[in-house]
């Protein structure tokens, strides 16, 4: 994974609440066996309408998406994170995220940054005309107008993102502990191994 330390640029002031993953990428796009090319189907129903915010030239090349509460709710499809990445989005800012989506975003180096509604409201305003900056070192979002909003992030996720660590490699380094757990459970709970159907 590539390290992510800073995201700077225009943001799409989308603002909608409870954006579900069927809205981000409808199921018909899930038939792929690749992670690539899903941007085409991203927000398909919304983008079918003339004058939608995603195709507004004002926000062409935007790297940040600003949304309302509970972004990414619904299905576990990681295709939602892949579709956003394929659209060129590298960070989503919202008051809250669904648990599964924020995990999927993290695994793909896509920042899912939660800040209070008041901060989101202000950033929505700024985004209409000016760029915003997300700094992972200081864990803050800033604007050209001296706004500064601090955010929190799970320390493990923060470290993985900033250092670009591969999570499977990190876990495989703990193979001894995994083996110990398996040995203990094999002897204490031998019934945990399913009988082959």
């Amino acid at each position: 994974m590539k390290p992510v330390t800073r995201v700077e640029g225009r943001a799409i002031p989308f603002g909608q609440k409870n954006v579900d993953t069927d809205v981000i990428i409808p199921a018909k796009w899930l038939k792929t066996i690749s992670r690539e090319g899903l941007g085409e189907g991203a927000f398909e129903a919304i983008r079918a309408k003339e004058g939608n915010i995603f195709d507004d030239p004002e926000y062409a090349g935007a790297k940040i998406l600003i949304a309302g509460d509970n972004f990414g709710c619904g299905s576990s499809r990681e295709h939602a994170a892949w579709a956003l990445a394929d659209l060129g989005i590298t960070a989503v800012i919202a008051p809250s995220f669904s648990d599964i989506f924020s995990g999927n975003a993290f695994k793909n180096g896509l920042l899912a940054i939660a800040v209070p509604q008041a901060a989101v409201d202000r950033l929505m305003e700024v985004a209409k005309t000016d760029p915003i900056t997300i700094d992972m070192e200081s864990m803050s979002i800033t604007t050209p107008f001296q706004d500064r909003f601090a955010f929190e992030m799970d320390p493990f996720r923060h470290q993985c993102l900033v250092e670009g660590l591969d999570e499977i490699d990190l876990t495989l380094a703990k193979s001894d502990a995994i083996e110990r757990h398996e040995k203990n459970s094999d002897s204490a709970q031998p019934w945990l191994i399913p009988i082959a159907a």
Partner: protein
């Protein structure tokens, strides 16, 4: 004295492989269900990195999402090809990946095939006290048996395949206590829709919900699966119901469940799992069962629920301005007017199926309404999709298939079907569907499709009258 623990804490603590100072823990995964949609990129990742599956014996693969629900074999027993080349490629990928990585695979025409969340419990693969994951958010269903079960993304699928663990932070524990019992004609689906209406689709975010109260103790495992399944619609990654004698009776003798002395040891362990008296929950919500009527959704979020005898709410009736806006958009999409009685809404499509409501009890409940009746003329398309080959066989043994067919329904092969618009079963744009599935999102059942979520008996009642109907009118 030992600190009292919740069921969630007990399962979590028993699966910590490694605890980091920052609060993240490496959690061992006892069970992994794999289907065709969220796994191809994970297997590809393993291949690229030269990694193998750590515990193929704890992994079970089955196709469900993409599979057409029409006949799978022709009269000579030959496989009928799948018309959509992308779906075919995805299904072939699973069929090839499973044996290549040593994973047991239940094929499309095997009688044991079905929706992942139906076959897990049915095969006895799902067990109390285990951690169970699948690349599908409705994995929450398995919590009905007291397993800590949750949906994961494809990168996590790859992580579990490679390491049999996940890096997780502990969720908060939420209690939903239901006082009293469900009235006549009120089903577990009405209960969970009502709960989601009360707490909202983000009400359980960051939490694992434990459902508590006498109503769950008296509920069948099928009913518990329906409730726990939709925990994700309340924002919770997992739901839990304490394992009890009903759970043990359900599991005993299932093909993959423990046998003999192992069974006795397992039951003894499972009995230690229920939440201790005095254990603390981070959040607690109380629901009064007497408040619950047959419930349907009016909008495009599972929290948009209303008793079937109610009216479509006015967007202005919501306090939150963004909810008002969302309600306006929902009504526009759904083609409904504020103040309109739900019972006046006619439906053209009926879908009985999905991991929420495709088990034998669901089919019995729907069939009991349809016995000796026919679907209304304005209902163009009505299908029943059993959750698994075994459910289908059981229903046929009970003659339920005849009741459905005589009522004008199509009797299909198991799969996810019209719950999500990715296989051939779709609801046409602008048409309504009385659906026993779990999501009424925009475009969920096909572009422009209008979904009303409800119980199997309610969907059957809608088929008979051709409009949203209080099932109790047909049972009096």
């Amino acid at each position: 004295m030992k600190q009292p623990k919740t069921l969630y804490e007990k399962i979590w603590d028993a699966h910590v492989v490694d605890q980091r100072d920052d609060g993240t823990a490496l959690i061992y995964i006892d069970r992994h269900l794999v289907h065709e949609v969220t796994s191809p990129q994970a297997f590809e990742g393993l291949r690229k990195a030269g990694r193998k599956v750590r515990r193929p014996d704890l992994t079970l693969a089955v196709p469900d999402h993409n599979l057409p629900t029409t006949a799978r074999l022709d009269a000579k027993g030959r496989k009928i090809p799948i018309a959509d080349p992308q779906s075919a490629a995805q299904l072939e990928a699973l069929e090839a990946n499973a044996p290549a990585f040593g994973i047991e695979y239940i094929g499309a025409s095997d009688i044991n095939q079905g929706i992942v969340h139906v076959i897990g419990p049915e095969q006895g693969f799902t067990l109390p006290g285990t951690t169970l994951v699948c690349g599908d958010s409705h994995t929450a269903a398995h919590g009905a048996l007291g397993a800590l079960a949750f949906g994961i993304g494809t990168s996590e699928v790859e992580h579990v395949l490679a390491t049999q663990t996940l890096q997780l932070t502990r969720s908060k524990a939420m209690e939903i206590r239901v006082d009293g019992l469900l009235g006549p004609g009120i089903s577990p689906k009405d209960l969970i829709l009502h709960i989601i209406g009360v707490i909202g689709t983000a009400g359980g975010t960051g939490h694992v919900i434990e459902y508590r109260g006498e109503v769950f103790e008296q509920m069948s495992i099928e009913g518990r699966l329906t409730v726990s399944n939709m925990s994700i619609e309340a924002g919770a990654r997992a739901g839990l119901i304490a394992p009890d004698e009903r759970t043990f009776a359900y599991l005993k003798g299932r093909p993959m469940a423990p046998k003999g002395a192992d069974w006795d040891a397992a039951v003894a362990y499972w009995k230690t799992l229920p939440t201790d008296e005095g254990a603390k929950f981070d959040k607690s919500v109380t629901i009064n069962a007497a408040d619950i009527a047959p419930t349907v959704t009016w909008g495009t979020s599972p929290e948009d629920v209303v008793p079937v005898n109610g009216v479509v709410p006015a967007p202005d009736s919501f306090a939150d301005p963004s909810k008002q806006d969302a309600a306006r958009k929902s009504l526009d999409y759904m083609g409904l007017e504020a103040g309109q009685a739900l019972r006046d809404v006619s439906v053209e499509n009926i879908f009985i199926g999905s991991c929420t409501n495709s088990r034998i009890e669901d089919l019995r409940a729907a069939a009991s309404i349809l016995t000796g009746r026919k679907k209304a003329d304005n209902v163009k398309w009505a299908i029943v999709v059993p959750g698994s080959g075994l459910v289908k066989a059981q229903a046929e043994a009970e003659g339920l298939d005849r009741i459905f067919i005589d009522a004008g329904f199509e009797w299909r092969e198991p799969g996810c079907s019209a719950c999500l618009g990715m296989n051939p079963d779709k609801v046409p744009a602008g048409e309504r569907c009385a659906s026993t599935s779990n999501r009424n999102f925009v475009g969920r059942q096909g572009p422009g499709a209008r979904t009303h979520l409800m119980s199997p008996a309610m969907a059957a009642a809608a088929a008979v009258t051709g409009r949203l109907t209080d099932v109790r009118e047909l049972t009096r």
